[in-house]
Amino acid sequence: MALNRDFVGRTYSPSAPYEVSRVKIREFAAAIGDNNPLYRDKEAAQAAGYPDVIAPPTFPIVFSLQSGGEALVDPDLGLNLAMVVHGEQRFEYVRQVCAGDQLVTTATITDIRTAGRNELLTVRSEVTTVDGEPVCVTYNTIVERGGAG
């Protein structure tokens, strides 16, 4: 079943603040097998000019879908989550995510389209600090396999 095009253009309420912790960054870096000291060692990070340990480039995926996540489980959208795989991902960084950041995400569904037998849904998420400082923008496209059939 095709996804409901009425969802295109919907912007969701900003997420509750996500607090970036050193422990979570370390856990994420360990999971991807990256031993870069800037992800683990506060002194090394400060020597490199950062206020605290920084997160790997793909870390914002941990929190950036929070705000729009409710859309994906909305029955009116018609998404079969069991058939979903990741299609595309992009991050535009304003600055690095650091331990201690309090981040708020605001998601907008920017596109829903058909590609062959699949349905593609794109979410753009703006990530700022609680004080409104821009941190990054993420673009996430998910694919519902066979969704167009």
Binding site: K24, G33, L38, A48, P56, T58, L81, Q89, R145
Partner: protein
Amino acid sequence: MTATVKYDEVEVGQEIPVVDYNVRRLNLVMYAGASGDFNQIHWNERFAKMVGLPDVIAHGMYTMAQAGRFVTDWAGDPGAVVDFGVRFSSMVVVPDDDQGATVSVSGVVEEKLEDKRVVIGLTARSGDQKVLSKARAVVQLS
């Protein structure tokens, strides 16, 4: 926050040699926990096959993270990456054995931009398949 690679020392067409990254089921379980993505296609073989996949597949974001690591290791500073995007063109199937799968990442300097930025085109393969396409990172060099 400075890249160790100097803008003046790279040329368009310059290749960044391939690095192989191993991915086993354990990595996927760890990544599920770290990322919060518990989609069963990444750890439950029975479920993966039920929805028509050949076996458990790696999170696309796990593969993207390896490509990110390739770029940050080259640049010498994770903070040097200012833009990073990929398309997941095929799946990394991860068998339940001690070998797992291998993701091979390589890169090429595609373009030199203003303000000492460069575009790195990335290639990631697993077996015979290209697993990332349209993969590019914009990196701030020194």
